[in-house]
């Protein structure tokens, strides 16, 4: 089965709130109708979704076999790369907007700074966890916000580049 494309995940998330017609998914994801049909055709072929009463729904029995594979660290890192590529390609570093931006800082941490930073991060994570991951009634899947955060150091990145 391999890993999941972000396009496919978005479609599954759209269906996770209930059965939808291709047109409803097109509106929910802000995709063209032919694109939704093309993804649905592929996913139906792989038994990920099924078509019943003019609507598509997730094929839960078949999907449960794939979940383990999709949630493997390697598969998830491919999805993360795809999302990051999308963010970088969209160029939010140069043209930040209120809802889409990507920031990067290179700094030196003292032990005290690091402890302070971690405390702030815990607060941020708690706040994010308190927000709903599922849409409220009128919210579209395409309006779902993606957060990225993390840190590393030059040593780790350079090592990773050198051992590629």
């Amino acid at each position: 089965m391999g890993s999941l494309l972000f396009l496919e995940r978005a479609l599954l998330e759209s269906l996770s709130t209930g059965a939808k017609s291709a047109r409803e998914m097109s509106m929910d994801l802000n995709f063209s109708l032919p694109l939704v049909n093309s993804i649905l055709f592929n996913m139906t072929k792989k038994n990920m979704v099924k078509f019943m009463g003019e609507k598509y729904l997730i094929n839960r029995e078949s999907l449960s076999h794939c979940l383990n594979e999709w949630n493997q660290p390697e598969s998830l890192s491919w999805e993360a790369r795809e999302i990051l590529d999308g963010m970088v390609d969209h160029n939010p570093m140069n043209f930040p907007s209120e809802t889409s931006f990507l920031k990067l800082r290179k700094i030196y941490f003292t032990d005290r700074d690091l402890a302070l930073f971690k405390a702030q991060l815990v607060n941020l994570e708690k706040f994010l966890e308190s927000l709903p991951a599922k849409p409220r009634r009128s919210e579209k899947t395409c309006d779902k916000t993606i957060f990225f955060w993390g840190m590393t150091n030059y040593k780790t990145v350079l090592k990773s580049i050198l051992i590629r």
Partner: protein, 103 residues
């Protein structure tokens, strides 16, 4: 093994109308040597590399990608090559979906 004549012909196609003097200036190869190469004499590896580099600069898109891989794949690590392979497979899958269905 490489074919001198093939690269000379490719070079003539891509950089048509250049004089031997201009080709010598571009490649850094002596003009008399350029003349000989263009008249069937075999190239040295270093000369071949210079012509290849200039040809590569002319290529764009998929042709450039293929040429880069053709020339430099040997220097890339197996793990990086595997990653690029996977990356390309995913991009092709996305391109296939969007080609059939638009964006």
């Amino acid at each position: 093994m490489f074919s001198s004549q093939k690269i000379v012909n490719d070079f003539k196609d891509e950089y048509s109308g250049l004089s031997y003097r201009e080709i010598a200036a571009m490649t850094g190869i002596q003009m008399t040597r350029v003349f000989r190469i263009f008249n069937q004499q075999e190239m040295r590896v270093s000369e071949y590399e210079r012509f290849k580099q200039l040809l590569l600069q002319k290529k764009t898109g998929a042709a450039r990608l293929l040429e880069l891989l053709n020339q430099y794949a040997i220097f890339l690590s197996p793990s990086f090559t595997r990653r690029m392979e996977r990356y390309l497979e995913r991009e092709i899958k996305i391109a296939d979906l969007t080609k059939k269905g638009g964006r």
